[in-house]
Symmetry: C2
Subunit: 328 residues, 2 copies
């Protein structure tokens, strides 16, 4: 039997680049990291990406001919092969990434939004259940989303679908970074949690303030959740508000898509059950019972490697090397 | 060249049954209607469906062998071949419709939610633009939805997707018929519009009240919109509120799915541009600009026949008689 070629995954972040070599079975044969160095501009970042790919191949003594292709995940969108958006990466917008990389490496090259590809990784390798439709919420500084529809990555008509952080949960609510008022991201992300703390903590005797050395600027989600787990009432209230809004957004999404599985990941979810349980408690207030009864809510399983694994998995999906999962 | 067989479409409503014979090109060769007679219970409704199908075939001198199959649209869901929900049709829930009808007619039989199939009709035959992803809002007594994803009907994992009326647009808002608080259906449907009128009209000198002979119980969306078109301020305010909430829901959906096209249909939309223009005005407050710029908002084109046409089109889709539309 011919051995299936591995794929190269390249996860682009505002701070780090990560390059992995992935088997179709989901094993990372190698994984290297380096700084993105966005301050060097587009050409500097592209040079760093190319050298990281070559170094990773060299580490495993592989040639370009021995890989199925390269998959790249990036902040922002990939619209007809061109990077769109990615505000934290100056100069990245407008990069014809697919043309450039195909010319550089001469192997099949695919690119998409980083959270969308993390969802693919969770779907293919993280979650054990065979399902058709899965939605990932990546809850970190902001809230990103990734959609798996009928067993495949869903990017929408223009590579932009899955903006799950921008569901309106409060009419005329807090202004979100995107400019819209009342997005769930404005309440339930790191930025949102810190804003909730800033509103509620001044003058209080919350453990949060003590743990932040009395300095509101030092409050983090970790501090809020450490305090909540010690029973601090203001911290528990912040969690309650953030989770109620998160459940509002998730419930509305369930009513639209009726997925089998909703997965919560990202840095904020390191707080664990305290979030998941509270979201579960509130979901019946927002999701229709028939749809909710058939939808499981769970943690993301892959952790920090989801991005790079998803980039590699995207190569397998696009080249038809992975059968459909979860079809009955 | 062999002539493609037509399909039978059977649209089940709480009041009427409608049976059509549809060509793959989207032409209705025949279309017959009769009362559903829900008061006769499940077996009575099934008997009415079967006799209507036979009468329609007879009218065109067709036999069952000469059709590609039968498609049925119903209120509620079709879950693994069994009707689920459909609260306005007592006894309909739990009917194993696919088994029953395949046994009765011996031809391929397919069933789905009525609004989902109306969306398919709009996608295949109503809208001229070739798009991949289209979302239909059917705004009538309630608000139903139908999703076309990657050129095909999307029913979710269990036949229940597309509950577009149950997006939360007002935190702790008005109680919806489904039990959830603040659904868009509670504001922007016929029921919602009438509730808005009831809240705002008592004691006012609105044209609406005059046109309803001073009787709040006689207010309809038609009266509200006739008054609005004559410049009545309370009527314009009601439209403003309903459209702002509708835009909140549509905007959130656009941020999730990023479709090419959103279509508004249903009885309330007979008011026309006054709704569409106001929704367009509010959408930038709720949808991300990159996604909104690529999404067209338009009226449904097929009118009352959308249901029965969609039922027939579903047969073609399921038997692979229709190529994918809008693929580039």
């Amino acid at each position: 039997m011919k051995k299936e070629k591995p794929a190269i995954g390249l996860d682009v972040g505002g701070t780090n680049l990560k390059c992995g070599i992935l088997t179709p079975g989901g094993r990372l044969l190698a994984c290297r990291k380096r700084k993105t160095e966005v301050q060097k501009g587009r050409d500097g970042v592209l040079a760093n990406i190319c050298s990281l790919i070559r170094e990773t191949l060299a580490e495993k003594k592989l040639t370009l001919k021995s890989v199925a292709g390269i998959g790249l995940g990036t902040p922002g969108y990939v619209v007809e092969g061109v990077i769109h958006g990615a505000p934290n990466m100056p100069g990245w917008h407008g990069t014809p990434i697919i043309d450039i990389m195909e010319r550089e490496f001469g192997v099949p090259f695919f690119a998409s939004n980083d959270v969308t590809l993390a969802a693919l990784a969770e779907y293919r390798y993280g979650q054990k259940a065979a399902v058709n439709n899965m939605v990932l919420y990546a809850i970190g500084t902001g809230i990103g989303g990734g959609l798996i529809i009928n067993g495949s990555v869903y990017e929408g008509s223009f590579g932009m679908a899955g903006e799950l952080g921008h569901q309106i949960v409060e009419n005329n609510g807090r202004r979100c970074g995107c400019g819209i008022r009342g997005c769930v991201e404005a309440y339930s992300s790191t930025v949102g949690l810190i804003a909730l703390a800033r509103e509620r903590l001044p003058g209080s005797s919350s453990l949060i303030l003590q743990m932040a050395s009395g300095d509101l600027d030092k409050v983090t989600p970790k501090i809020i959740y450490d305090a909540a787990k010690r029973g601090d009432k203001p911290a528990l209230e912040i969690n309650d508000i953030a989770c109620r809004y998160l459940a509002t957004a998730i419930g509305g999404m369930i009513n639209i898509l009726s997925p089998d599985l909703v997965v919560l990941g990202g840095g904020v979810m390191q707080a664990g059950e305290i979030i998941l349980n509270k979201v579960r408690e509130y979901l019946p207030s927002f999701a229709l019972p028939d749809l909710l009864a058939r939808c499981r809510l769970d943690f993301a399983k892959l952790g920090e490697d989801a991005g790079v694994v998803g980039c590699g998995a995207f190569v397998f999906e696009k080249t038809g090397k992975l059968g459909k999962r979860g079809e009955s």
